[in-house]
């Protein structure tokens, strides 16, 4: 096990920046955002980011294809960009989000080359959580504050720094930096003590929730739980496991570009057909689909894995404070 002193972090990030594009959480006003590290940028490693680092692997807007249109001819250019990258300071919930993306975007029969290129080029360094917020419920959905799944290197906060453990060859490669020194016995036992204290009990048993969801499909529960929703995209855009996107063309001087952009199933136009027909015309249907996707449909396709990492951002960022845990509580006891 290695130890990383807090004061050695800027030096480490500086050296990493010579080989990688390094993303860190930074505080701006009262929000914590993911931004590329530059000399002088102070990473806010003690906070869960207001947004997750999902835009690093799944950009808000990216160019998929460039079309050169001259006279009657059309040339197509694939634009896949994947420089070596380090995400430094994610949380276990953020890393878990990428695992959920992997099942979809790295499907062997049909991989997304853009995501795959970026994923392969990215190393994820996660800070484990010793003091979750009130809105955190990662242990309820299969994760946990000390969950290591999905990270390449994990950092456990100790006095004066972090205990560092590599989980993959990518993580190992980072440990070669001089900032990582051997951890002392005292630090190892401190780590043990802190791990014991950091256990988080699940809020509720989500066993059987896919079945409860299916049973509740036509009930008025959905109209009730969604009535305060205002159908914006805040929960979706800040969710580490949401990956819905839109594809649109835009004209350029050379011809056109095909863009992939974030989209949200909460928006009215998400399923609006050109004929005017909309299979999900009201918020009740859209919210039901959101919960259904996360807790029934996705699990049924991927061995029971929930498409939710329990980070609580949807609760905090919702303009009307809709709490997904309340909906789950109702669902779990539906029909009883």
């Amino acid at each position: 096990m290695k130890f990383l002193k807090r004061e050695d972090i800027p030096g480490l990030l500086g050296r990493l920046s010579e080989r990688f594009r390094v993303y860190v959480p930074v505080k701006r006003a009262e929000v914590v955002l993911w931004r590329p590290w530059r000399e002088g940028v102070q990473p806010a490693l003690e906070h869960q980011g207001t947004e997750p680092p999902k835009a690093v692997l799944f950009p808000r807007s990216e160019t998929l294809l460039r079309f050169g249109c001259e006279r009657k001819e059309v040339q197509v250019e694939e634009t896949i960009e994947a420089p070596p990258t380090v995400i430094f300071g994610s949380r276990p919930c953020d890393a878990r989000g990428f695992l959920i993306y992997d099942r979809v975007f790295l499907d062997e029969g049909n991989p997304d080359p853009y995501y795959r290129a970026r994923r392969e080029a990215t190393t994820i360094v996660t800070v484990l959580c010793l003091d979750p917020e009130r809105t955190c419920f990662c242990s309820t959905v299969g994760g946990g504050p000390l969950d290591e799944e999905g990270s390449d290197l994990v950092l456990l906060p100790l006095e004066g720094g972090y205990l560092a453990k590599a989980l993959t060859p990518k993580g190992e490669a980072l440990l070669g930096d001089g900032a990582f020194v051997e951890a002392s016995e005292g630090q190892l036992s401190e780590a043990e003590r802190l791990r014991e204290r950091a256990k988080m009990e699940p809020l509720l048993e989500l066993d059987g929730i896919p079945e409860r969801f299916n049973e509740s499909f036509t009930s008025d529960l959905w109209e009730r739980v969604s009535q305060k929703c205002i159908s914006c995209g805040a929960c979706t855009f800040l969710c580490p496991t949401c990956y819905c996107f839109n594809i649109t063309d835009e004209r350029t001087p050379e011809g056109a570009e095909r863009l992939r952009n974030w989209d949200a199933c909460m928006f009215y136009h998400y399923t609006l057909e050109a004929s005017g027909h909309n299979p999900r015309p009201t918020k009740a249907e859209r919210y039901r689909n959101r919960i259904g996707h996360k807790f029934s449909y996705y699990p049924s396709l991927y061995e029971g894995l929930f498409a939710c990492c329990g980070c609580g951002r949807c609760i905090k960022s919702c303009p009307v404070s809709l709490d997904i845990r309340e909906v789950l509580r109702e669902l779990v006891s539906y029909g009883k």
């Binding site: 998929l64 294809l65 079309f67 249109c69 009657k72 001819e73 059309v74 197509v76 694939e78 979809v104 975007f105 049909n110 991989p111 997304d112 080359p113 299916n214 499909f217 036509t218 990956y243 819905c244 996107f245 839109n246 594809i247 649109t248 063309d249 835009e250 004209r251 011809g255 056109a256 095909r258 992939r260 989209d263 199933c265 998400y270 399923t271 609006l272 057909e273 050109a274 004929s275 027909h277 299979p279 999900r280 249907e285 689909n289 259904g292 996707h293 029934s296 449909y297 996705y298 049924s300 396709l301």
Partner: protein, 277 residues
Amino acid sequence: MASRNPFLPYIATLKEVIEETPTIKTFRVVIDDPAEREAFRFEPGQVAQLSVFGVGEATFVINSPPTRTEYLQFSVMRVGEVTTKLHELQPGDKIGVRGPLGNWFPYEDMKGKDILFIGGGIGMAPLRTLLLFMLDNRSDYGHITLLYGARSPQDLCYKEELKEWERREDLELVLTVDREFPDWEGRVGLVPNVLKELAPSPEGKVAITCGPPIMIRFTLQALAELGFGDDQVVTTLERRMKCGVGLCGRCNIGPRYVCKDGPVFTLRQLKELPPEL
């Protein structure tokens, strides 16, 4: 072997445009690159995304059967942004073709059975693919009936082919329009009602239907009343689609994606999904 970028379209040239109705045009396109053209293999019922570069993509069934590959045919109804621009294209213009996407009609399971096609309006497009495919493999199938209706005589698609099909001995054609029209001497009535009048027996039959959502709903009802089992009824659905490969999340009905696990579904499969049509 690296798989092809699922977002990358083939560049194709529009060879011919046929005006079917005031709102529907049929496009015949040929993929430019000979190797790509050769490698483009598809099954009846599969769809493709057509690109108008700089405007966008929209999904259409590959309207020609895999047994006739001099061109790929698509029938397009003008309803929105992309289809309006498609309708402005002229032969010689470039178009993108991304596909084949989705699943196809389970024609293997239909071999030896009598086939009942029930189509409404532009819903005839996917049915034409399978019908021509079956006619090109005629001995594999039993008696074939096509019940096709539209709002008015001018809204019927493939008018020239309909005349051909009427003359064929190995195909029974029943045409209908929603109400009386001056030059129309054929049947009058909504497709589900005409279906009930014809009262076909479900014995040894498979029914394949496509059309506007409301027509499908009443047709499925009529088929149930006539005693057709859930495994005997096949339909093909429409949804707003973007990626076409089950990634963007939008076209789902429950855990199934209409672009990837569909658009063809048997009634049994539909009933296993949440009621979200």
